[in-house]
Amino acid sequence: MSRSKGMPAARPSGSLSMTGRSRLLALLLVLCLLVAISMWAVTLGTVRIPLRSVGNAIFGFDGSREHLLVMTIRLPRVLAALLAGSALAVSGAIMQAVTNNPLASPGLLGINAGAAFTVVLVMTLFGTGTSDIYLWYAFFGAGCAAIVVYGLGSFGLAGQSTVGLVLAGAIVATFLTALTSAVLIFDQSTLDTVRFWTAGSVAGRTMAQAAAVAPYILIGLAAALLLGRHLVTLSLGADAARSLGQNPLAWRAIAVVLIILLAGSAVALAGPIGFVGLVVPHIARLTIGVDYRWIIPFSALGGALLVVGADTVGRMLFTSQNFPVGVIIALIGAPFFLWLARNKAGGAT
């Protein structure tokens, strides 16, 4: 568990001790890339729509076919990708700060397993409905699972260490995943429907769906940005945090609420895209250092960039609109992550 030793930014050398200015520059670079890719993503599709008419559609909607296409299909999809990506990445960063564990991701709080279980249960019991309904069931399942994990982990070990939280997460996730597979093994039609959902996708999302979860995600993001300072303290471990005057139990609870808001909404919107929450914070930490005041904005932009970029590449390469974005995220993100991990992690000898 001695994390500090292995964490790259403990070494004060090279690009790891980025100055404030170069960090700001990196952040701006990612932001510009994100804006460019998002704009490009809206114009791209079976019908190419020039950027000018996209602007017109947003600010002066006239009900033409082109404007309708932008407002009901393209824009919601890009917005969903932006929201889900940034929410997952930031919740992953918070999770890693809370648990001090490089293997931690929002999934470890049972978010993905809880959402998947409720969706599968609802599909099996009531048949397949519209995806509007799954949104709330998934959110509900994710929240419940996370609360159970937190209760078990914090009170189960009286808050002595984060090992309790981590193990409790593994327990609840395993239990729910086992239940889910038990249902799916006997119910082929649900498996057939749910496999697209579990792969993670932002295809066919409506403006209403994006708008439904947007407030939670925006509140969560804003809070995470404002509380970055406390997350740094929290990531030092309970003892250090307490001696710095922080109440680690209270802040851990706040962090869990943030994770539920962020990751719960993201999973409800886009399905369990595990990779983003796990890897984007690592990428941020490996490039920018261990300061969570920087990791969080960087993760938010980086996660959004990864999901929007992957979805756009997927739409460009495969005409089938249903190609799951989760797969492309892994195909694009993993090699980059492997390169970073190989070159920067764990004290090269």
């Binding site: 090992v163 195909l331 992690a345 764990g346």
Partner: protein, 328 residues
């Protein structure tokens, strides 16, 4: 310690007897006794049920459980992470991807191909993780991160195949991957036993090295350990053991994670004590999971890998809860 081992062994014997007696055709204890002792009154059908069907199955479950627990103990020590289990090395994701490829892309693959594919996938994946994280030495963190990266690549392949594959094939792959000991026979049990005996003995004999390496690379090195050599050998042992378990039974999850934790809570941090207790715990977990899985909704059966999650998780939660006032 002796008392604990005795209790565990008695528990195990009880489980074996129960597994032999219960099932679609329940045997009374008297019938079971007659069958086992080979008394002339034994019914021929019962002899077949006990020796050809139930005995290999329970033996396979025991071996798989012990193997997973041993591999998990090694991974826990080498990775120094409470979440470490053989899956961190990419074993599960590699096996899953390989099996998915074989089932979805080949027309009617022969049944014998699946274990081979699972084993090869697991070994190839671990080798890739280890080689990619080698840069004049390894570190636990780098292995963990590379494992995450490669696993997500393999996971992407699995997801892709399961999203676009023929639904019947996907379901078949899911059942295989869920981990089960349905198709046990005595040949398979023997094969697994002889495969496991050397790596498991080696692992147990290197308990002291594991005790050392857990202190961290620097401490272990300054105490005279050749850290990279030990870590490499241990990862090799872990792969051989859990790869074979995966080949025999698919992905029986959770045992590798939980058995070492239970063992170290019971007998403290010394690996010489953890290994036997973890192995017995893992064996009882898988054997009881299989027993429950084939009795609870008979005549249908739940794969053991699912039941380990369903039973093992609440049990472990209960253990955590019971020790909530103990300091870590």
């Amino acid at each position: 310690m002796t008392r604990l081992l005795t209790v565990l062994i008695f528990l195990l014997i009880g489980l074996i007897l129960a597994s032999l007696a219960f099932g679609d055709i329940p045997l009374s204890w008297r019938e079971l006794f007659e069958t086992i002792t080979g008394s002339p009154e034994a019914n021929l059908q019962n002899v077949m049920i006990v020796f050809d069907l139930r005995l290999p199955r329970v033996l396979l479950a025991l071996l798989v459980g012990a193997a997973l627990a041993t591999a998990g103990t090694i991974a826990l020590a080498v990775m120094r992470n409470p979440l470490a289990e053989p899956g961190v090395l990419g074993i599960n994701s590699g096996a899953a991807a390989a099996v998915m490829v074989v089932i979805v892309l080949l027309q009617d693959p022969p049944a014998a191909l699946l274990p081979a594919a699972g084993f090869l996938g697991a070994v190839a994946m671990t080798a890739a993780v280890y080689l990619l994280s080698w840069r004049g030495g390894t570190s636990s963190l780098r292995i963990i991160l590379i494992g995450i990266g490669l696993s997500s690549l393999a996971g992407a392949a699995t997801t892709l195949l399961s999203t676009f594959g023929e639904i019947g094939d996907v379901q078949r792959a899911m059942i295989w991957l869920a981990g089960s000991v349905y198709d046990a026979n005595i040949l398979k049990v023997r094969l697994l036993f002889f495969w496991l005996i050397i790596p498991m003995a080696l692992a147990w004999m290197s308990s002291r090295e594991l005790d050392l390496i857990r202190f961290g690379d620097n401490s272990a090195r300054s105490l005279g350990q050749r850290v990279d050599l030990v870590r490499g050998v241990m990862i090799l042992l872990c792969t051989l053991i859990s790869g074979a378990a995966v080949a025999a039974a698919g992905l029986v999850g959770f045992v590798g994670l939980v058995a070492p934790h239970i063992a170290s809570r019971l007998v403290g941090p010394s690996h010489a004590r953890i290994f036997p207790v973890a192995a017995l715990t893992g064996a009882s977990l898988v054997a009881s999971a299989d027993l429950v899985g084939r009795v609870i909704i008979a005549p249908a059966q739940l794969p053991a890998g699912i039941v380990t999650g369903l039973i093992g998780a609440p049990f472990f939660a209960y253990l955590l809860w019971g020790r909530r006032h103990a300091r870590e």
